[in-house]
C-alpha cells in the first residue's frame, strides 16, 4: 500500500470554498452579459390559446422575448431520452412548449434582458391564455380506465412495462409457503434539492463559430453530446461544455435540461454572453424529481423463517415527460436489487412506467435501489413480527453467507463480495443491540413508545459494463476515461471524465495517482468538468467515480510506470528485468542497489528531451485509458436506529443512529464517512420530513423550502459510523461506491424503528414521511382513539 490511499488526507479543494472563492456557474460574469428568465406554466395541463408578449418586449432593458415556435424555427430539437426499454413510448419534449403545457413549471416563453430584475418583471408582463385540461398525478391512478391522458397518443399513460426474475420459481414459492406477508406501499415523491440551484451561461464567438456553455452538470461530456446531436446542433468540435464547481447534485444534475439549450441559443441569437440562474422555486418545479412508486409486494417463507420468494408489482411515476435516464431507474436499478442481502430462490418483479402531469422523475440519490431496499426491509420486519422472531436474527438467518460469493441472484446481478453476517454483528455490537432491546422493554413498561429499527441493505454501484447497459436500453456506454499527464519536471496533471460536486475527487483521485506513481500528493493536480480539457468522460452518478473513474487512472498510471521503467533501465544501462520501479519513491533503480537509480523527475525530463530514449520509443509521458468495468460493485450496510415517539405530540425523536457500511477498500476514510453521514441524513429526510406533494389538479404544494422540509441540523443527535471492508474483486482498487449506501439504508432503518415503537398500538404500516399527523392518524385508525 502506498502512502496516501487509506489515509484521511485533508481536502485540497477546501481552501477556495471556505474563502468564498467557489467557481459556481451563477458567479460567472462576462462583459456585456445578458440575463435570461423563463415564463413557467402555472397550470399542470392546459392548452395555450393565446400569448401576448408585447408589453414585455416593450419594457426598457428587454432585448427580446422568444416563444416555443422561435426555438423550433431556430433549429432546436426536442430533448431526447437516453435509456429506452423495449417498446417505450416517448412523449415529445420540446425545449419550450408551443401549444400545450404538461406540468407546472413547463417552459412557456423566454425573456432576455440587461438586468435580472428587469427580466423577472418582463416575465410577469407576459400574458398567456390557458384552457385547462383534465389532470392526472397518481402513478397507479394514471392507468385507470378513463383517466385523463397526459399525451393523447400514449394509451393508458403507460410509457413502458418491464419485468425481471423467475416468475415460475416465484409462483411456486408462494404456492408452497408456510407464511406470506403482504404490503401495499407508496415510496413518495422527493425533490433532490441540491443547495445550488441550477444555472447555465454561454458565450458565442461568431468569428470562429465556437460556443462555450457553462452548466451545473454532473456530466458535461454527455451534455455536449446531447446538445450537439439532438438539441442545439453545434458540432462537438465547436462546442465546449464546462461544469465548474457544482453545488451538489444527488442525481438531479445528471440530466439534459431545456435551459442548457435555451441559454446558448439566446447567446448566439442576441450576440452577447447570456446567463440564467434558477430561483429555488424554479428548481423545485423543474429539476427532475425522485422515487414516486406505488407498490404491491409480498414475501413467502417457510415456518422456520427461511425466505423463499418475493413478488413485486410497481407503478413508477415518470412525470410528464421522460427525463434523460428515467426508464433506467425503476427497471435495471430497482427490480435487480429485490433480492436484497438474502438468499431467496423465487424473486420476480414487474414495473409499469406511467406518465402524469407532474415534474419528470429520474435518478435521485440511490435511484431505484432505495425503493427496493425500503420494501424488502419493511417486508422482513413484517415477517419477523408474523413469526415472533427478532428482526436482526431473522436477517442473519437469511443473509447470503460470505462463502457464497460471488453470488448470483435470481434478478440478474452477480454480487461481488460481502460478509453480511459480520456486518450485522458489528452493527449489533456497536449499538449494544441487546442492551437497546432491554432498554426498550423498560421504556415500554414505563408507557413510552420506544422503537428499534434494524436493516441490512445492498446497493449496486459503479455502473456499468457498457455492453450490459446497452442490452438493457442505454443509448450510451458507461466506461470512464482517465489521463495521467506527467510534465517534464515530474509534476502530474490528472484528467478525469468523472465530475466532483462535493465528493472530493480532487483529493481522492490525487491520492490514487500519487500512490500509483510514488510521487508527492502535492505534485498531482486533478482536472475535471471541462470538455475543452478532458477528451471524454461519462461523469459522476451511481457512486461510480472511484470504481470506474479511479480504475481508469490506475490503468493510465500503470502505463506511465511501464514507460518510466523502460527509460530508467535504458539510462541505467540495465536490462528491464534487472531494474525495479519503487512505488514508494517513484525511483527506478537496479535491483538490490537502491542508491544507483534515477528519480521520477529525471526520468520524466528524459522522456521529453528525448536525447537518449530506448530505440523506437516515442517521446513524451502521457497516457489515457478508457476503463469499462467488468461488473457493478455491491456495497452493503447494516444500520440500527433507536427512536422515541412522543405519545402526546406524535413527534419522532431519534435517540441513536448506528451505521456500519462495507464500501470495499477505502481511499480516504474522512471523505467516505462524510458521504455516509450525508447520505444517512437524506434517507432520514425521506423517512421523517420530505414529500414532493401535488394537489389533485397538479399544483406542486411543496415548491419552496417552506413546504419541502429537508432535514436541519437538529433532526439527529449525531451519527455513529463504522465500517468493515470486503474488497471488490471487480476493479484494481478493490473499492465499492460510497455515495448512496447511507441514503438507501437510512429510510427503512428509521421507518422500521418508528413502526416498532408503534407496534404495541397495533400500527403495522404508515406511508412516509412519518410526520406527527400521519402517525396520529394511523394510531387513531388502529383503534386507539381518545
Amino acid at each position: 500500500m502506498g502512502r496516501y490511499v487509506g489515509t484521511s488526507v485533508k481536502r485540497v479543494e477546501d481552501p477556495r470554498f471556505i474563502q468564498g472563492k467557489g467557481r459556481y456557474v451563477a458567479n460567472i460574469q462576462l462583459p456585456g452579459m445578458v440575463h435570461v428568465a423563463i415564463k413557467r406554466s402555472p397550470e399542470a395541463h392546459a392548452r395555450i390559446t393565446g400569448m401576448d408578449t408585447s408589453a414585455a418586449s416593450a419594457m426598457d432593458g428587454v432585448l427580446a422575448v422568444f416563444t416555443g415556435q422561435d426555438f423550433k424555427d431556430g433549429g432546436c430539437g426536442s430533448l431526447p431520452c437516453g435509456w429506452l426499454v423495449p417498446d417505450t413510448k416517448v412523449p415529445d419534449r420540446p425545449i419550450v412548449v408551443t401549444d400545450r403545457v404538461c406540468h407546472v413549471g413547463d417552459s412557456v416563453a423566454v425573456v432576455v434582458a440587461e438586468d435580472p430584475y428587469v427580466a423577472a418583471d418582463a416575465v410577469e408582463a407576459i400574458e398567456v391564455d390557458y384552457e385547462p385540461l383534465p389532470t392526472v398525478i397518481d402513478a397507479r391512478g394514471a392507468t385507470d380506465e378513463g383517466a385523463p391522458l397526459v399525451h393523447e397518443e400514449i394509451e393508458n399513460n403507460v410509457s413502458y412495462h418491464w419485468a425481471l426474475g423467475d416468475q415460475e420459481a416465484c409462483d411456486q414459492a408462494f404456492a408452497d409457503a408456510d407464511e406470506i406477508v403482504e404490503l401495499e406501499l407508496v415510496n413518495q415523491r422527493l425533490i433532490p434539492t441540491a443547495m445550488e440551484p441550477r444555472a447555465a451561461a454561454a458565450q458565442w464567438d461568431a468569428a470562429s463559430g465556437e460556443m462555450t456553455v457553462w452548466t451545473t452538470s454532473q456530466n458535461p461530456h454527455p451534455i455536449r453530446l446531447l446538445l450537439s446531436a439532438f438539441t442545439l446542433g453545434i458540432p462537438e468540435s465547436k462546442l465546449r461544455v464546462i461544469s465548474p464547481d457544482v453545488g451538489g447534485g444527488f442525481g438531479s444534475k445528471i440530466f439534459h435540461y431545456p435551459e442548457e439549450v435555451i441559454v446558448p441559443w439566446v447567446a448566439r441569437q442576441v450576440g452577447r454572453p447570456a446567463r440564467w440562474v434558477a430561483t429555488r422555486t424554479e428548481s423545485q418545479m423543474t429539476d427532475s424529481q425522485g422515487r414516486d412508486h406505488v407498490t404491491v409486494c409480498k414475501l413467502a417463507m417457510t415456518s422456520d423463517g427461511t425466505f423463499t420468494g418475493l413478488d413485486v408489482e410497481t407503478w413508477a411515476n415518470q412525470g410528464a415527460y421522460l427525463s434523460t435516464f428515467a426508464p433506467l431507474i425503476p427497471t435495471a436499478l430497482y427490480i435487480t436489487l429485490l433480492s436484497g442481502n438474502y438468499k431467496m430462490p423465487g424473486v420476480f418483479g414487474k414495473v409499469h412506467g406511467t406518465l402524469t402531469n407532474t415534474v419528470p422523475v429520474d435518478a435521485y440519490r440511490g435511484a431505484g435501489r432505495p425503493e427496493a431496499a425500503y420494501l424488502v426491509e419493511r417486508l422482513v420486519d413484517l415477517a419477523a413480527a408474523r413469526l415472533g422472531r427478532d428482526p436482526l436474527d431473522l436477517r442473519r438467518q437469511n443473509a447470503i453467507p460470505k462463502e457464497d460469493f460471488p453470488y448470483q441472484t435470481p434478478v440478474a446481478f452477480l454480487y461481488d463480495s460481502g460478509d453480511y453476517d459480520r456486518l450485522m454483528a458489528t452493527a449489533a455490537d456497536n449499538a449494544d443491540y441487546a442492551g437497546m432491546r432491554d432498554a426498550q422493554a423498560q421504556a415500554r413498561a414505563e408507557g413510552k413508545l420506544r422503537g428499534v429499527g434494524v436493516v441490512c441493505c445492498i446497493e449496486a454501484s459503479g455502473p456499468a459494463p457498457s455492453a450490459v447497459a446497452g442490452s438493457l436500453g442505454s443509448a450510451v456506454g458507461f466506461w470512464e476515461s482517465g489521463e495521467v499527464r506527467v510534465h517534464p519536471t515530474g509534476q502530474v496533471s490528472v484528467f478525469t471524465g468523472s465530475h466532483a460536486h462535493g465528493q472530493g475527487h480532487e483529493t481522492t483521485l490525487a491520492q490514487v495517482v500519487a500512490d500509483e506513481l510514488g510521487v508527492p500528493l502535492e505534485s498531482v493536480e486533478v482536472v475535471h468538468g471541462d470538455t475543452g480539457r478532458i477528451n471524454f468522460g461519462m461523469g459522476t452518478y451511481g457512486s461510480r467515480s472511484a470504481c470506474v473513474g479511479g480504475s481508469a487512472l490506475v490503468r493510465s498510471a500503470e502505463k506511465v510506470r511501464a514507460k518510466v521503467l523502460q527509460i530508467g533501465a535504458h539510462l541505467l544501462e540495465a536490462a528491464e528485468e534487472d531494474v525495479v520501479y519503487d512505488r514508494d519513491t517513484g525511483r527506478v533503480h537496479v535491483k538490490g542497489s537502491p542508491d544507483s537509480g534515477k528519480d521520477f523527475g529525471e526520468l520524466a525530463f528524459a522522456a521529453y528531451t528525448a536525447h537518449n530514449l530506448p530505440e523506437e520509443m516515442e517521446p513524451g509521458l502521457d497516457f489515457t485509458s478508457f476503463y469499462d468495468p467488468a461488473n457493478f460493485t455491491f456495497p452493503a450496510s447494516s444500520h440500527i436506529c433507536e427512536v422515541d415517539v412522543c405519545p402526546d405530540t406524535w413527534e419522532v425523536r431519534i435517540l441513536r443512529y448506528v451505521a456500519v457500511d462495507d464500501v470495499g477498500k477505502v481511499i480516504n476514510p474522512m471523505i467516505v464517512e462524510g458521504q455516509i453521514q450525508g447520505g444517512i441524513v437524506q434517507g432520514v429526510g425521506q423517512a421523517l420530513t420530505e414529500v414532493g406533494a401535488y394537489s389533485d389538479d397538479g399544483q406542486l404544494l411543496s415548491g419552496t423550502l417552506l413546504e419541502y422540509a429537508v432535514p436541519r441540523a437538529d433532526l439527529l443527535p449525531g451519527i455513529e459510523v463504522d465500517r468493515i471492508e470486503t474488497p471488490s474483486p471487480h476493479n484494481p482498487l478493490g473499492v465499492k461506491g460510497a455515495g448512496e449506501m447511507g441514503t438507501i439504508a437510512a429510510t427503512p432503518a428509521v421507518a422500521n424503528a418508528v413502526l416498532d415503537a408503534l407496534a404495541p398500538l397495533g400500527v403495522t404500516h404508515i406511508e412516509l414521511p412519518l410526520t406527527p399527523e400521519r402517525i396520529w392518524r394511523a394510531v387513531q385508525a388502529a383503534g386507539n382513539g381518545a
Partner: protein, 155 residues
C-alpha cells in the same frame, strides 16, 4: 427609484446608487463582485447568503441594500485577516465540514456569530444555532464538529 447608500463592506467604504428593491445579497454579488455569498433559495430558508451586519448574522436575501445603509457588513471574503484563515474557516477545513461548498460561506458566518455569543457552545447548542442554515451534503455531522472544535480552540 434609486437611493444612495453608504455601506462599509469588509472594512471598505462602498457608495452606490441602488434601486429600492435591490436585495443586499444581489448588491454584494452583482455590484461588488463578492460572489462568495451564495443564494440558495428565495424564501429566506436556506441561509446560504448569511453575512454579518453590524456583527449579527443576517440572511442577506431578507435585507434590502437600502436597509444596510450606514452599516458594517462582513462577507466570507472579509472574514480572515490578510495572513491566513479565520479559526472557523480553518476548523471547517480540518474537520471536513463541507462537501460541495455552496452552503459553506453562510454556515461559517452563522457559526462565527454562534461562537461570538457562546464561545463554548455545546453540540446541541450548535445544532440549534444552525437550524436556519441548510446543508444537503454533510448531514451536519462534521459542520457541528467544526463549530464546536473552533469554539474549543477559542476562535
Amino acid at each position: 427609484m434609486s437611493h444612495r447608500v453608504r455601506i462599509s463592506v469588509n472594512g471598505k467604504a462602498e457608495e452606490a446608487d441602488v434601486e429600492s428593491r435591490l436585495l443586499l445579497c444581489h448588491f454584494l454579488r452583482d455590484q461588488l463582485g463578492l460572489t462568495g455569498t451564495n443564494v440558495g433559495c428565495d424564501t429566506s430558508q436556506c441561509g446560504s447568503c448569511t453575512v454579518l451586519m453590524d456583527g449579527k448574522a443576517v440572511k442577506s436575501c431578507t435585507i434590502l441594500a437600502v436597509q444596510a445603509d450606514g452599516c458594517d457588513v462582513t462577507t466570507i471574503e472579509g472574514l480572515a485577516d490578510a495572513d491566513g484563515l479565520h479559526p472557523v474557516q480553518q476548523s471547517f477545513w480540518d474537520n471536513h465540514g463541507l462537501q460541495c461548498g455552496f452552503c459553506t460561506p453562510g454556515m461559517i458566518m452563522t457559526a462565527v456569530e454562534i461562537l461570538d455569543r457562546s464561545p463554548d457552545a455545546s453540540d446541541a447548542e450548535v445544532r440549534h444555532g444552525l437550524e436556519g442554515n441548510i446543508c444537503r451534503c454533510t448531514g451536519y455531522e462534521n459542520i457541528v464538529k467544526s463549530v464546536v472544535a473552533a469554539g474549543a480552540r477559542g476562535s
